[in-house]
């Protein structure tokens, strides 16, 4: 996700928080010229999204391995997937990473966003510094993690040793690898959530807060009863954006552990990649990716419903 994406997301958050307008008549009856103007965008979306996805879905119904002619096998790849322990392991890890990272990022991002709203000095500089982690390419994050967190060669354990702690295995221990990955992702993307929260918070009506203060509500009460409910649509937007990224999380895991140790970080995306590009089972890899896409799509739909429920 880019900085432009962050700006758009902040804008979307502000839009979510703004009072609803009734749609004008031009929305109900598009003109012919409007249709022509939209047509290229629709054609582009079809070519870039619908066709590749349709092809992947078609591929998932075939036994397609390198060097062999593809053979239609119906839903066999999906039956195999349901009986595959590696799939269920990947599914569990994907959900674990999603829940863990999302929780950390929403909590820490809300705190940071509200803190930023109160920063008066060097506001531009502070925001620029915060933006920098999510400007870094994932490969850089992965390489940094390897250098810093390697239990033998990395600086993290050296620092822990100076404090009389550790050593920790971080990415090399099946018990800590997913927590480490979740923290790495949270380090990179919490500022993004914070900027969304900041955008949403600044667009909230001030008079509600002032009224609460005059009525003698404590800071904690104002946060629980006013700030959080009003920010709910913004937080759901942030959750949707981060969920899509987290459910298809790939780069950092592949660079740092390649799914190991053992299968301890083989999420669905990593599993699909290995099946496709390392073991050349394109049909099965497509079935995995279609399933993952369905999970992502389902999550987005669920959040869309939640957003409608949280709207005010």
């Amino acid at each position: 996700m880019s900085v432009t994406g962050a700006a758009l997301a902040a804008e979307a958050a502000a839009r979510d928080a703004a009072p609803r307008r009734r749609a004008g008549p031009w929305r109900r009856r598009p003109t012919a010229s409007f249709r022509w103007m939209v047509a290229p965008a629709l054609a582009f979306a079809c070519a870039m999204i619908v066709l590749p996805f349709g092809w992947a879905a078609w591929l998932s119904l075939q036994e397609s391995v390198i060097g062999g002619a593809p053979r239609f096998i119906g839903l066999d790849n999906y039956r195999r997937l349901l009986a595959d322990a590696e799939f269920w392991n990947g599914f569990r890890l994907t959900l674990l990473l999603w829940l863990l990272s999302l929780a950390v990022q929403l909590v820490a991002g809300t705190w940071l966003g509200l803190l930023l709203a109160r920063v008066e000095v060097a506001r531009g500089l502070v925001r620029t510094v915060l933006v920098s982690p999510f400007m870094l390419p994932p490969v850089v994050i992965g390489m940094m993690a390897i250098v810093i967190l390697d239990p033998g060669l990395g600086v993290a354990n050296w620092l822990l040793a100076q404090a009389g702690l550790g050593p920790l295995l971080f990415l090399a221990d099946p018990g800590t690898v997913m927590i480490t990955v979740a923290l790495l992702d949270s380090w990179q993307w919490t500022p993004f959530v914070a900027l969304i929260v900041l955008g949403g918070y600044l667009s909230l009506p001030r008079d509600v807060f002032e009224a609460a203060e005059i009525d003698g509500a404590s800071a904690s009460q104002r946060f629980r009863r006013i700030t959080l409910p009003l920010l709910a649509p913004t937080l759901v937007t942030a959750a949707v954006l981060r969920s899509v990224d987290l459910l298809r999380f790939f780069d950092v895991i592949y660079i740092t552990t390649q799914g190991g140790p053992g299968n301890a970080s083989t999420t669905l995306n990593i599993l699909a990649y290995r099946r496709g590009f390392e073991f050349f089972e394109f049909g099965y890899a497509a079935a995995l990716m279609v399933t993952l896409s369905a999970i992502v799509f389902g999550t987005v739909l669920a959040f869309a419903k939640l957003r409608r429920a949280a709207a005010w």
Partner: protein, 433 residues
């Protein structure tokens, strides 16, 4: 009359003697002048050297060269994507026939080089295919199709720090069984000195571990050609490798491949490893290592007397989808020719050509340092006795190696005994047959 016959005979003799050289001079290296070829290469000392030398090829042929170098995983992903899409974007690619040869051949990705070698118009007269070692040619030929031209030969070698062994009064390991004993004594001698490192990453384990399995008399296949991890000697090999990693390896060893292992050895943090001969030049770049490192083939087992190392070789293939086949073939000839291979020795690339290996330039380079001589002798030995097959019988080689590596990891993680992990892997390996 007699004088003219003698003159004619002398001319024929001279032509016979000078023929190949004269013909070589006549060969038209510029027949594809103005074309551009694209190389897709794995990150390897050979590839890095080629980046600097490709300009010489352009100067000789007029063919421009575009080089793409990726780390191995990314290299394979890009190659698969392009070749599966029948893209003509890549003309020449690196390939490891012992790993992927059968699958790539079945997919029709290789151009058969045999007709090109035999074509007098396209092949320089001084290009001697027989000069590649027989084992290398055998590995590069799949069911009669000459898939690649060898660019190096390599295999895992045993590296140890002679100075640390001397300081601790420990003998150089003469047998495989001496390695765990030496590890124990090194630990007792200096608790702050790292002892051992080797590949622990699942897909990379087999490269380092197979020497242990083979030397102890093990095999990945049963005599009737089925997966054979659950054989006593194979289990012992897996157990020895896993225990060395578990008891004496660095923390986080299961995420390590050659990059971390070489870094640990180069920085002086470990005293022993079993790592690729390819990394020799990189190890020597670390200060002091040229003086204190010893290198040799993994020692034979005391019990079995067997020494059966691995030897593999990367090769260069011409893509079957290339539209620049002839220009690509000229590149292959140049890049695998005697002249270029002689220069590549300086970059630590072990030459697959016998004439270069036994030539004066290589010998002069090797004689400059004892460790270089030891390295060269080890390469000769693995070339003579090594095998390129180090997984259970299947053509789904990467998957089989992954399963075997996973069995070893289970032992290191303490989730299974070597016997349980090995025996559990066999049915899964059987599904790949």
């Amino acid at each position: 009359m007699r004088r003219s016959f003698l003159a004619g005979a002398a001319a024929l003799a001279a032509a016979a003697l000078l023929g190949p050289a004269a013909q070589a001079q006549d060969f038209n290296w510029r027949q594809q002048d103005g074309r551009t070829i694209t190389l897709l290469l794995n990150n390897h000392p050979w590839s890095q050297a080629m980046r600097e030398m490709a300009a010489d090829f352009t100067a000789r042929t007029g063919i421009r060269v575009r080089i793409e170098i990726f780390n191995e995983e990314q290299f394979r992903a890009r190659l698969t994507t392009l070749m599966q899409g029948r893209s003509p974007e890549v003309d020449v690619f690196m390939s490891l026939p012992s790993r992927e040869g059968a699958v790539f051949k079945r997919a029709g990705w290789y151009t058969d080089l045999a007709p090109l070698i035999a074509d007098r118009r396209l092949t320089a007269p001084d290009f001697d295919y027989e000069d590649f070692g027989e084992g290398m040619r055998r590995q590069a030929t799949i069911d009669g199709l000459v898939a690649t031209l060898p660019i190096n030969q390599e295999g895992p070698l045993f590296y140890w720090r002679r100075d640390i062994f001397a300081r601790c009064g420990i003998e150089e390991p003469r047998h495989l069984e001496d390695i765990p004993v030496a590890a124990q004594r090194l630990r007792a001698c200096d608790a702050n000195q790292g002892v051992w490192a080797a590949r622990g990453l699942r897909g990379a384990v087999n490269y380092g571990m197979s020497g242990f399995v083979f030397n102890l008399g093990g095999s990945y296949a049963t005599p009737d050609g089925r997966p054979g991890l659950c054989q006593p000697a194979t289990i012992r090999g897996i157990e020895m490798y896993a225990n060395l990693l578990k008891d004496f390896g660095p923390p986080g060893a299961l995420n390590h491949t050659f990059t971390q292992v070489i870094e640990l050895l180069g920085q002086g943090r470990i005293a022993m490893t079993h790592e690729s001969s390819n990394e020799f030049a990189n190890i020597m770049r670390f200060p002091g290592r040229a003086q204190d490192i010893g290198v040799k083939v993994l020692p034979p087992s005391r019990e079995t007397g067997i020494s059966r190392p691995l030897v593999i070789g990367w090769g260069l293939a011409v893509s079957a989808h290339s539209r620049q086949r002839d220009a690509a073939w000229l590149f292959l000839q140049w890049a695998t020719g005697t002249e270029v291979q002689t220069r590549l020795v300086q970059n630590g690339v072990a030459p697959p050509r016998a004439s270069v290996f036994q030539g004066p330039a290589f010998n002069a380079w090797a004689e400059e340092l004892p460790v270089r001589r030891a390295w060269a002798q080890s390469l000769i030995e693995i070339g003579r006795t090594g095998t390129g097959i180090y997984q259970s019988p299947t053509d789904r080689v990467p998957e089989a190696r992954d399963l075997i590596g996973n069995a070893m990891q289970q032992v290191v993680l303490g989730r299974a005994s070597a016997r349980d992990a090995a025996c559990a892997a066999d049915p899964e390996l059987a599904r790949l047959q």
